[in-house]
């Protein structure tokens, strides 16, 4: 095994589970598996570009790969519809509502950018700096977007902006 392969192997063991979960939260299992393989391939080809904190960078790669896959699927669906004159296919739901139907409906009502920043914050557990790198925006923009998304999610859920006693300094305490 070459030094590069050894470094890549260690990287894959570090990132593969977070990236699998990132994709499982955003698409169906088959697409997630394909996109994970494509993401790892891009990481291998760009091994020298990967920063010391790799996950936000890898999430950007995964997001682009997923966008490509979704774009291909939409084209395929359109072609299938034309050929078979079928009713429009329903895109597979990436998330099982389970016992959290209300929350998933509230997330679905948000703008896609708001929902995504909330996912990165709560599910990927990224800091503001990492969210900014994953979305390729400034930290200030990430902080504002997260602040706004939290408020909109609370409104969508019919919850007060903040629990009692926590009305100040929200943005400063984002983490």
């Amino acid at each position: 095994m070459s030094p590069g392969e050894g470094r890549f192997n260690a990287l894959v063991h570090e990132i593969v589970e977070p990236v699998r979960r990132y994709l499982a939260r955003r698409t169906d299992p088959d697409t997630a598996e394909d996109v994970l393989a494509e993401t790892l391939l891009v990481c291998w080809r760009r091994l020298d570009d990967i920063p010391s904190d790799p996950l936000p960078w890898v999430y950007v790669v995964a997001r682009h790969c997923l966008a490509n896959a979704e774009r291909s699927r939409r084209r395929r669906d359109r072609l299938t519809q034309r050929l078979r004159a079928m009713e429009p296919a329903v895109a597979p739901a990436p998330e099982d509502p389970g016992d959290h139907d209300e929350l998933h409906r509230a997330l679905a009502r948000l703008r896609s950018g708001d929902a995504e920043v909330l996912r990165l914050w709560a599910w990927e557990e990224l800091s503001i700096g990492q969210i900014a790198r994953a979305l390729e925006i400034s930290e200030n923009a990430a902080s504002i977007r997260l602040h706004r998304a939290k408020r909109r999610l609370r409104q969508s859920l019919g919850k007060p902006d903040h629990p009692a006693g926590h009305n100040q300094g929200e943005r400063r305490q984002d983490r």
Partner: protein
């Protein structure tokens, strides 16, 4: 010490669709890494003959007389990379370019966004970051880019910058062509909007 958004975060985490995802076995992860490292990392095919071309763009909507500056492109069948040559004919006048409209791009076979990784005097290496149509591969190499000139509606490359590129269909027996004249160029919200409308 509690955080004012702990309740919201807990609520979201409780609805995490990946919460029940079982971890992969270490040998499976190693196999995935090995699959990636077994793939080529860059183009290795010998260069194909290249020639600069002018393409007449015939079509409806007043485009019959429009001329587009193009660059030759050679898809690589055996690797993920694609070879491109930029070479606008000095006889092309900038005023002959048509407007950049989605309907002009819609039928072309390759469209992608890429980042300029390395720029030398005679070669630009692009890393494809998003594919709108076709299969350009992961890496596109552009030769002859120094010939591109704004007078011919070409554009230069800067390392780290992103570019949107479309490829025109080729005549039988000919190589495909990269469209210039504003159809390809530095990625901008305006050009991306055209691509989204044409290929989305």
């Amino acid at each position: 010490m509690t955080h004012p958004d702990d309740d919201l975060r807990s609520l979201l985490r409780g609805a995490d669709p990946a919460a029940r995802l079982a971890p992969l076995q270490p040998d499976r992860i190693t196999a995935m890494a090995n699959t990636a490292t077994s793939q080529p990392t860059s183009a290795s095919r010998p260069r194909s003959p290249r020639r600069p071309l002018l393409f007449g763009l015939a079509g409806a909507g007043g485009l019959a007389a429009a001329v587009i500056a193009v660059a030759t492109l050679t898809p690589m069948a055996t690797t993920a990379a694609t070879r491109v040559t930029m070479g606008a004919d000095p006889g092309l006048a900038a005023g002959s370019c048509p407007g950049v409209l989605p309907e002009y791009l819609a039928d072309w076979k390759l469209a992608f966004q890429a980042r300029a990784e390395k720029v030398t005097d005679d070669l630009v290496t692009l890393q494809v970051t998003e594919v709108f149509r076709g299969e350009p591969g992961a890496v596109v190499e552009v030769a002859g880019h120094e010939l591109s000139d704004s007078d011919y509606s070409g554009f230069g490359f800067t390392p780290g910058d992103d570019y949107l590129i479309t490829v025109m269909d080729a005549a039988p027996g000919d190589t495909p062509q990269i469209a210039l004249c504003g159809f390809s160029g530095p990625a901008s919200p305006e050009l991306r909007a055209v691509y989204e409308a044409a290929f989305g």
